[in-house]
């Protein structure tokens, strides 16, 4: 960190107060800091003493930062809070372009705006639009709640792309109720079980001790079952927009389902760049979740760079989200103009690190679909299963695929077409 001029030492009670205010600023910027940590920080500063600004920085850093991505925010807030007594003016400068002319010109550093918003309590922050651009206008529709079976059935088969607004709303409702069952995998942890295949020595001895050392039965244990993670990587480029919106609804339903199922659901979107939307999927309200995800992903309905985005995923995320045997659901039409060698290599790596890689492609709904596009030809050999994903019925079929390990969807047929050419 850069050198700062020495800080005039305030008196001790004021310092505790200052640290508290500083912590509140950090909290508003999104760092998880409870009162316990503040007390700790005061104690830590008292221990480390005030020999230099740098030590003070690292002392507070040790107490308040708990994630690498928080370091930047911490550095900015620290700079604003502890350095310049006129920090408010600086923040106004960062916040309001109108008065910037009176201050010296400087480029906003990363996290600076966030730091400023946090310290200013958000009051002066310009209002952000509630909904990102491209979101559908609020609907003023009266829906008939009495659905007949046949209508629901028809909707199930209907292509997402051909749905009317009313049908989309109805489909969203159906998707929200959908489930994605999965078979559990065996963990190395053991649990007591009468029908287990291993001897539980601990329990056997406990029983024996109660009976004066007499072993009458052997207690048994078996390996515990655990649920795998699901990683969904969804294409949100222009050609996919109608599908990806509804598929994100589906994803939100799967991510928030109670009861046994996936241990964790990680969501990513990509178009021209990769975005992790896992955190937003956790919001209970589906519209709020998708609006937040939409605000984060800047590339809705843009172009597609599948190879480059998968490269980013493999490099930055795959080791973090796929460590424990994750199933990967890749949702894209595979229309990509980039280098197909790179795409093929990235798909191969993705396939190697996933427990199972399932590709949902809405293009597959067309009769006589042939793997002509270069992107599709590059990706197809590296997936475990290749399926259509254009309707509610298709997504429900997905549930069957997940419980049958050997299902490869349409892959075999299409691979034959590829090799026979």
């Amino acid at each position: 960190m850069p050198e700062y001029p020495p800080l005039p030492l305030p008196e001790a009670p004021r310092l505790a107060q200052n640290i508290t205010h500083f912590a509140r600023g950090l909290r508003r910027a999104g760092l998880p800091i409870g009162p316990g940590r503040v007390a700790e920080a005061v104690a830590a500063v008292a221990t480390a003493g005030f020999t230099s600004k740098q030590d003070f920085y690292w002392t507070l850093h040790a107490c308040f930062v708990s994630k690498p991505e928080h370091r930047q925010v911490f550095a900015q807030i620290f700079r604003l809070y502890w350095r310049d007594p006129r920090f408010l003016e600086h923040m106004m400068a960062a916040m309001l372009p109108a008065i910037r002319g009176t201050q010296e010109e400087k480029a906003a550093k990363p996290a600076q705006k966030r730091a400023a918003e946090a310290l200013l309590d958000g009051a002066e922050a310009p209002d952000r639009p509630d909904q990102p651009e491209g979101e559908e206008p609020p609907e003023q529709l009266e829906l008939n709640a009495e659905l007949t079976m046949s209508r629901e059935e028809r909707l199930r088969q209907l292509d997402f792309e051909q749905m009317s607004t009313a049908e989309v709303a109805e489909a969203k409702r159906m998707l929200a109720k959908m489930q994605l069952p999965i078979r559990p995998i065996q963990s190395r942890r053991l649990i007591a079980s009468a029908a287990g295949n291993r001897i539980n020595w601990r329990r056997t001895m406990a029983q024996a001790a109660r009976q004066g050392g007499e072993i009458t039965t052997l207690a048994r244990a078996q390996r515990r079952l655990r649920w795998p993670n699901l990683v969904v990587i969804c294409d949100i480029s222009g050609s996919m927009s109608q599908y990806s919106r509804l598929i994100l609804h589906f994803l939100h339903a799967v991510a928030n389902r109670k009861g046994p199922g996936w241990a964790r659901v990680h969501g990513f979107t990509f178009g021209t760049r990769l975005t992790n939307i896992t955190r937003h999927l956790g919001q209970r309200d589906v519209d709020a979740a998708l609006a937040a995800a939409g605000a984060e992903a800047q590339d809705w309905e843009g172009g597609t760079r599948i190879g480059a985005c998968l490269h980013d995923f493999n490099r930055d995320w795959s080791r973090r989200v796929m460590g424990q045997g994750a199933v990967v659901l890749l949702i894209t039409d595979g229309l990509d103009r980039d280098d197909s060698d790179q795409l093929s290599a990235e798909m191969q790596r993705l396939h190697l690190s996933a427990r199972r890689l399932i590709w949902l492609n809405p293009l597959l709904r067309f009769d006589g679909f042939a793997p002509k596009a270069r992107g599709i030809r590059a990706m197809l050999p590296h997936v475990d299963s290749f399926r259509a994903g254009h309707s509610i019925a298709a997504l429900q079929d997905l549930a069957d695929v997940l419980t049958r390990a050997e299902d490869s969807g349409e892959k075999r047929r299409l691979m034959q077409m590829l090799t026979s050419e």
């Binding site: 998880p32 409870g34 316990g36 940590r37 700790e40 104690a43 830590a44 221990t47 480390a48 003493g49 020999t51 740098q54 030590d55 690292w58 002392t59 850093h61 040790a62 107490c63 930062v65 708990s66 994630k67 690498p68 370091r71 963990s187 190395r188 942890r189 053991l190 020595w201 601990r202 056997t204 001895m205 024996a208 001790a209 004066g212 050392g213 072993i215 655990r226 493999n314 490099r315 080791r319 973090r320 989200v321 460590g323 424990q324 290599a345 790596r349």
Partner: protein
């Protein structure tokens, strides 16, 4: 026990670990406040090494708990030696002369003799040299139940063994946890610790480390090695080389009696710094030469 941040820096440097100011500060705070230290960072930046160095420098025992998926309390804290207990029971039965009373047998079976101490319990034992250093390595490899179990163990440093009662550490151990961040560790655990992200070192610090760890290497060659590795870290690789790789590579070059880096030498020894086939194949051909030239350019002319 060092009395200031400067003292920690000297202590570590003398033991052969070149720490930056931030790391020295958290180590000092952790020692002084008696709080666990949580170190995160890429593989090979020296997270485990800090625990080893600290143990050596303070003259404490190092107890290491290597985490893996499925690690549970019986392999982390304690277990009874069931086979030995079983034999003892049978032996008592065979000793048919006079029947021993049940309570005495039970007391004998669940005594210290039959207790197997695993790392966490071991770290709570009194030690004349002072509290040991407990290294909980690669915490991200365990599953969440074990993490939750650690919450309690780390805050109280006591273990209840039903048959023996509660065992409390006379002096809590110095705890260092490390994570490679293959998965996110829960906030509840991080909150109980002091946190530090261990980054790749800058050029000067890596030079210091290399001089300390591979003293036989000629100065100019070590400069080239460090500059090359530093340049590699700016490339788009699947796994960037850590400090451990730099030291390994330097030792490889020493063993091969290399006096000067050349694209051929780099191609032959690339396996010491890059561990993924994709990365290695990227550096074949002219790419290695380009990075080498770039690294040399930052060093200036040969002096």
């Amino acid at each position: 026990m060092p009395g200031s941040i400067d003292a920690v820096e000297t202590l570590l440097t003398e033991a052969g670990y070149v720490a930056d100011r931030g790391l020295a500060t958290v180590v000092f705070l952790s020692l002084r406040l008696g709080r666990p230290l949580f170190l995160e960072g890429e593989a090979g930046v020296g997270k485990t090494e800090i625990a080893k160095t600290l143990a050596a420098a303070l003259g404490r025992r190092l107890i290491r708990l290597q985490c893996y998926e499925g690690l549970d309390a019986s392999s982390a804290v304690y277990e009874w030696n069931f086979a030995a207990q079983m034999i003892a029971i049978r032996a008592a039965e065979a000793d048919a002369g006079e029947p021993r009373d049940r309570a005495a047998l039970q007391a004998e079976l669940f005594s210290d003799d039959y207790l197997i101490r695993r790392p966490l319990l071991e770290a709570m034992q009194p030690d004349p040299a002072g509290a040991p250093i407990l290294l909980i390595d690669e915490l991200d490899r365990t599953d969440e139940p074990f993490e939750a179990f650690l919450l309690e163990a780390l805050s109280d440093f006591q273990v209840t063994i039903p048959e023996l009662g509660t065992i409390k550490a006379p002096e809590p151990p110095i705890v260092i946890l490390t994570s490679n961040r293959t998965r996110e560790v829960h906030d509840a655990l991080k909150r109980r610790c002091l946190y530090h992200w261990v980054d790749y070192p800058d050029f000067d610090r890596e030079m210091e480390i290399l001089t300390a760890r591979a003293p036989g290497l000629a100065p100019r060659l070590s400069q080239e090695v460090v500059a090359f590795v530093q340049a590699l870290r700016t490339e788009d690789l699947f796994k960037h080389p850590g400090i451990a790789e730099t030291i390994d590579w330097a030792n490889c070059l020493l063993a091969l009696d290399v006096i000067d880096l050349s694209p051929e030498v780099i191609a032959d020894t690339l396996g010491a710094i890059l561990k993924y086939q994709d990365d290695i194949s990227r550096l074949q051909g002219s790419e290695a030469k380009r990075i080498l030239d770039q690294a040399r350019a930052t060093l200036g002319p040969t002096g």
